[in-house]
């Protein structure tokens, strides 16, 4: 979706503000919501694509007016309410008033190191071989789906070159909506900065992105 998260090339946000000796967390609540979000993954009520979509679906003014961990907080609440794990009344009061939903798992302290070390690889076996190979020229589709996608707006309708094939990976556009992992070939596609941004850009600069096969057509 053309949501507030799709920031590439937008203007008006001002200068980057690097911070000397930045702490990992700026307040205890940031660390708690990060940990709550990671821990709730064990319930397996959603996947990473669905959780990204929940954050991206926040109203643009709310998204852009929030710090990153506030976006995580609101996104987690939306997911849990949608899945019937909690009610909005419970979130507001901080007290249980409905029975817990039976979920697939719970992250225990003793299992944290193993769970983090394992991660969640997204590579999968695909039904069909890749359509493109490194060196091929491709054009990104001009598409504006209302659902989740990982093809940024600034890269739509442009010609680039396949520089790497990563095998097949879970396809976010379906996985975010409960329509299956639907593995698709994933490529790194390199675009010249001038192709994407126009003649004012440095002639040698490039921008690359990792794009799934359904985003691409031969050029």
């Amino acid at each position: 979706m053309n949501g507030p998260q799709d920031l590439g090339g937008q203007m008006g946000f001002g200068a980057v503000a690097p911070e000397a000796d930045e702490p990992v967390f700026h307040a205890p609540w940031e660390s708690r919501i990060l940990a709550l979000t990671l821990a709730m993954g064990a319930a397996r009520e959603w996947n990473i694509d669905k959780s990204r979509h929940a954050r991206e679906s926040l109203p643009p003014a709310q998204y852009l007016g929030s710090s990153y961990y506030k976006i995580w907080t609101d996104g987690l609440i939306e997911l849990m309410v949608a899945q019937g794990l909690v009610t909005r009344e419970e979130v507001a009061s901080g007290r249980m008033s409905t029975s817990p939903k039976k979920v697939a798992g719970k992250l225990l302290a003793k299992d944290v190191p193993a769970v983090l070390a394992k991660g969640g690889p997204t590579s999968r076996e695909a039904d069909a071989g890749p359509r493109f190979k490194p060196g091929d020229k491709v054009r990104t589709r001009n598409m504006h789906p209302t659902g989740h996608t990982r093809l940024p707006r600034y890269l739509r309708g442009h010609v680039g070159e396949i520089v790497r094939l990563h095998g097949a990976h879970v396809f976010p556009d379906t996985n975010a909506h409960g329509k299956g992992e639907n593995p698709q070939a994933l490529y790194t596609v390199k675009f010249s900065a001038r192709e994407v941004w126009g003649e004012a850009r440095h002639p040698r600069d490039t921008v690359s992105a990792d794009l799934w096969e359904p985003y691409l057509e031969p050029a």
Binding site: K70, T73, L85, T122
Partner: protein, 208 residues
């Protein structure tokens, strides 16, 4: 402090609205039996003390010291990095991109905050904030200038927008004057920013 940062007031007895909201959420999720509060503590301690940019610095120092390891890192970063013990969440699929006198690499996630947690830890606020995410792809030279980094005019900049689960680490150029240095000593020259591409590795004079 970045303008979008949510200022918190945890120091005193008053909690900010967002801190209260998260506290209430944690109580609720514990009461409903969905989360183990001790697991939260272990998660936080892990990212505060165990997983951070020193992991990545060791990868880079190894690559500077061992040509075979460097070749492996550039060909299959996931395996080469895993061989040093750094695996897992937000590092499942790694790619290393090498800086040269001709080309400088810069990593961004324009769509969210994708970042190689397993080798760099959690991303800094600026990496997740709109100014960096919006401009790194359209104006990388302007962004680098805000980090105090000006490259020669003919250096190409390759920007990597991590739109999938592939996580990028920049292999910075080895500083001059470090011949014969141990891996351990070399790793002290590798900054977090140099592995994102918003900085260079430190020179021996600056580091000492």
């Amino acid at each position: 402090m970045p303008h979008d940062h949510d200022h918190d007031h945890d120091e005193g007895s008053e909690l900010s609205p967002i801190a209260l909201r998260v506290k209430a959420l944690e109580s609720l999720l514990v009461e409903k039996g969905y989360v183990d509060p001790q697991a939260l503590d272990v998660l936080i301690e892990t990212y505060e003390t165990k997983i951070g940019p020193r992991n990545g610095a060791r990868v880079i120092a190894r690559a500077w010291s061992d040509p075979q390891y460097k070749a492996w890192l550039l060909k299959d970063a996931t395996a080469a990095i895993a061989s040093l013990g750094y695996t897992g969440r937000q590092g499942e699929h790694m790619v290393a991109v090498e800086n040269t006198p001709d080309t400088h690499n810069l990593v961004v996630c324009t769509l969210c905050s994708c970042y190689p947690w397993s080798v760099l830890g959690l991303p800094p606020v600026w990496y997740k904030a709109p100014p960096y995410r919006s401009r790194a792809v359209i104006d990388p030279r302007g962004v680098l200038a805000e980090f105090g980094l000006t490259l020669p005019a003919d250096t190409a900049i390759s920007v990597w927008d991590s739109t999938a689960e592939i996580r990028y680490i920049v292999l910075p150029m080895r500083p001059e004057g470090t011949e014969g240095w141990s891996e351990d000593k070399l790793s002290g020259l590798v900054t977090r920013d140099s592995m994102i591409g918003t900085g260079l590795a430190l020179s021996p004079g600056i580091a000492s």
